[in-house]
Symmetry: D5
Subunit: 124 residues, 10 copies
Amino acid sequence: MPQVDLLECFDNPQPPQREYVIEHVAEEFTSLCPKTGHPDFGTVSLRYAPVDKCVELKSLKLYYQSFRNEGIFYEAVTNRIADDLARAMNPRWLVVTTHWKGRGGIRSTIRVEIGAVPPHERTR
Amino acid sequence: MPQVDLLECFDNPQPPQREYVIEHVAEEFTSLCPKTGHPDFGTVSLRYAPVDKCVELKSLKLYYQSFRNEGIFYEAVTNRIADDLARAMNPRWLVVTTHWKGRGGIRSTIRVEIGAVPPHERTR
Amino acid sequence: MPQVDLLECFDNPQPPQREYVIEHVAEEFTSLCPKTGHPDFGTVSLRYAPVDKCVELKSLKLYYQSFRNEGIFYEAVTNRIADDLARAMNPRWLVVTTHWKGRGGIRSTIRVEIGAVPPHERTR
Amino acid sequence: MPQVDLLECFDNPQPPQREYVIEHVAEEFTSLCPKTGHPDFGTVSLRYAPVDKCVELKSLKLYYQSFRNEGIFYEAVTNRIADDLARAMNPRWLVVTTHWKGRGGIRSTIRVEIGAVPPHERTR
Amino acid sequence: MPQVDLLECFDNPQPPQREYVIEHVAEEFTSLCPKTGHPDFGTVSLRYAPVDKCVELKSLKLYYQSFRNEGIFYEAVTNRIADDLARAMNPRWLVVTTHWKGRGGIRSTIRVEIGAVPPHERTR
Amino acid sequence: MPQVDLLECFDNPQPPQREYVIEHVAEEFTSLCPKTGHPDFGTVSLRYAPVDKCVELKSLKLYYQSFRNEGIFYEAVTNRIADDLARAMNPRWLVVTTHWKGRGGIRSTIRVEIGAVPPHERTR
Amino acid sequence: MPQVDLLECFDNPQPPQREYVIEHVAEEFTSLCPKTGHPDFGTVSLRYAPVDKCVELKSLKLYYQSFRNEGIFYEAVTNRIADDLARAMNPRWLVVTTHWKGRGGIRSTIRVEIGAVPPHERTR
Amino acid sequence: MPQVDLLECFDNPQPPQREYVIEHVAEEFTSLCPKTGHPDFGTVSLRYAPVDKCVELKSLKLYYQSFRNEGIFYEAVTNRIADDLARAMNPRWLVVTTHWKGRGGIRSTIRVEIGAVPPHERTR
Amino acid sequence: MPQVDLLECFDNPQPPQREYVIEHVAEEFTSLCPKTGHPDFGTVSLRYAPVDKCVELKSLKLYYQSFRNEGIFYEAVTNRIADDLARAMNPRWLVVTTHWKGRGGIRSTIRVEIGAVPPHERTR
Amino acid sequence: MPQVDLLECFDNPQPPQREYVIEHVAEEFTSLCPKTGHPDFGTVSLRYAPVDKCVELKSLKLYYQSFRNEGIFYEAVTNRIADDLARAMNPRWLVVTTHWKGRGGIRSTIRVEIGAVPPHERTR
């Protein structure tokens, strides 16, 4: 079972009004297809603008690993991760994107975005 | 004959007000040129923001396969797929892009977009 | 001599209010430098939003081939192709971009755009 | 200890109203993880629009080297470099982006932006 | 010494109200570092929207070659080329970007833009 | 059914003692999986040293197209193509390699070689 | 536990004296580090020359999946797979190569080869 | 008509016993298909070990350009170029390789080699 | 000081007569230039065929890290690592290759090989 | 004038019987075409097996820079560098390869090899 309590946060080392963006790309994500039981392999990208909290990197890795033997659809994984991280950090803005290697010749990408895009991000 | 009834949908696991984007890229699409009968090979990319329905992945694959022995022009394939999927899912926004390997030294791309681009997608 | 009458159009299979974009990339274009007589090699990309007419692919190829032994500058080729195609199809929007392999260590690109960029294209 | 006094500036050779952008990408940055003591390897990109001062390239390199044996988190390195450079040059606009090679299968990127994005940069 | 009088222009073959963009990328640029005397190697990209004049390609190449044994900083080269070309052609809009291979492990890019970005360029 | 009689040959324009190598790579091959009926997509590469006969390019394309609706395993396709071409041309040496896009996350390659590798090919 | 009895073979559709080579590349392999319990991700490539038996593709996939929750070292995985496949198929020649994504900044590759390299393979 | 007398040679600046290898890759070759009259585009690579003569670069370019409006098959072009250059230079060893962009979805390569491969080339 | 006693070995899990090859590529190596004191950055690749011992991966990483503040030339680093590892493991065959990012515009590679290349490696 | 006396050597830090290979790739080489006076740009790769002497890296760079304003053909540059370095170091084996960016659409490569290829290099 995905374990949200694995997520640990540390205090944003910057004052909340400093706008900056943090990105963590985990290229080794795996869960199980709830229909067939076969493993799914994907990449999970997290990008966010912190307010008071930042997610700790090792805890993020362990949280992702807790999906390893969970049967869960692409759409659900992505929304679940976004919701869990939004709840844990309460960031100004957050986007979670998952890329899934092909199944039946079709590659899939799911993207969930919460909060208003920071001004600088708009012109990147 | 392309068979629209092959398309199956499942209920969007998120409430309709959650804005998120789903993308499926099928790299193995083939149909026939209606003029010469020779096979065309292409990639079909679907990106959409769901409201109540999401297209089921395996049914999408079978729907694409039903074009295999159909004589149909690039422009028609792309508009047809966009119309069929829009009707089946009634999404907030949808874009279908087809990329065709070169014929006579010319590579082609057709892009059909239905509905208003979601705010987050605009700054991607 | 480039032969504009080689261009053939077919009726847009969609109603004119359907906004969609068609792209054809011809990677094997050659003409002659009007100064030195040496051959120039380039790529010609056409992207347009049709109203009533679409250009037929084989006729486009033959039209491009008619430049083979024509002495003509980069700027003139690109504007000429854009003007000929705009006249033949009368599209909502059209952009012709030519990329030329290096001469004297300099690679060149010319881009001509006619009409207003379609809303969807703006956020691509 | 990172040594901010290593940073040397020279007078912007252009009048302050000339808007232009300077970018320096240092691909060989290393510091230490403050938790484990293991080395971190990354790339530091600086992009800025000068007013009166430009940072001297060799001094920038020595300043970056002064982090070599410093235990410091990704977020802190990036904000610190941005603050030091903003203080030294007082530019119109500045962005510092750090890319870190994977630790535990996760690649990270931190981006800090100070000042208003120049108009030309917005349409790049 | 860089020789601005090497630059030759020809009349824009289009009427001045036709908005189009010309790009020339010179991948073989070399000058000398004014401090150490060591050679610098870079790429010079020019993109502009002409009004009455276009720069002739061979004269541009010779003009660039005239920097070969000149001791001159990155920032100065880039601004100088932009100023010389703006004076010679008086274009609607012009951007000169120089990319410099690494010195001391740092790669640099300088970008100078003169005039208002053409509307089409904004949505490219 | 694959139709071997589609293969047409022309006389080798060189005397048989001239050793040279001809390669044709067809990137758009499709057949059906005999177990599931799902389409397989692959690339077929042919390399050979002719004696008296060369295979005609258009006939090769039509021969490959005749596999389109044939249920046949990877290993059988590859050996069959090699045998048919060896019989049709009787070359000094021939190798057929097929590359298949992933099924169930596994990409496959089959290589069949008939005759002795020409001396020049050995040191390529 | 890795389950060797998952491996199924089918009769080589060619006579045993036909020398040909089959390659299957599985890009989605995962097992566990026996020391830390953390997941390892890698690619497993199998290349072999069959005599009487070929390994069935779906059974190979299921066999690879049976390592998912097994704690096992890189060296042991690779030798074990090679031994299991050699026993199951008794091929003329077989090579198993595993590529492992970086751990602690170090990427690893293990290659086990059994039997004499076929003559054609030598000059590939 | 291809004009062999365009080929000019200069004396090998090295004594004939010095073994070295010269390669010229022309990426902009075009001729006509003798069947359809449509243009073919390809790359011509020449690699050789000189004895007394080297081919002059500009004359090689003009010789290649003389095929521009010649109807000639892939196999014939390649053998003809190899024969013409072998006759003009009488080198120790020579290989001509042509790569042709796809026609009907098939890319082709022809390779003609004359003389014994130099010892160093064997271990390259 | 590089610390050879950091290297730990474990018993080869295979009998010594099993020929197989292990490769570890460390992309994050840094030492100091003994002349200028500036940091050098490189990649260290180790490939070997074990007899009785294999090097433990974490100890290899720590051993490499012990060069971090050592002033040592490229040639010396490479030979020293090869000698240390050969002494620690006594393998059948070993090759150490270091790749160094450019200094003064020159990229360097040093390769040291000890023992006879295994037969399979020869035909890789 | 190219200045061979710029080349400095240091004593091979290894005993002469240790076979190892050193490679230096200089990507920023420029000389002049003796015919037209236009600059040539290329890459010079040196690979050698030392006996008693190794070439010092900074002196190699200065030696290469001394060709900057020299009119000299591709073939002559390459042989001259090989001869100068062979004389200065008297290595067991040496290969100099120059790659030249296209002139008139033709890219060139010259390779000069002196001495017997070391056994390990043969199987690389």
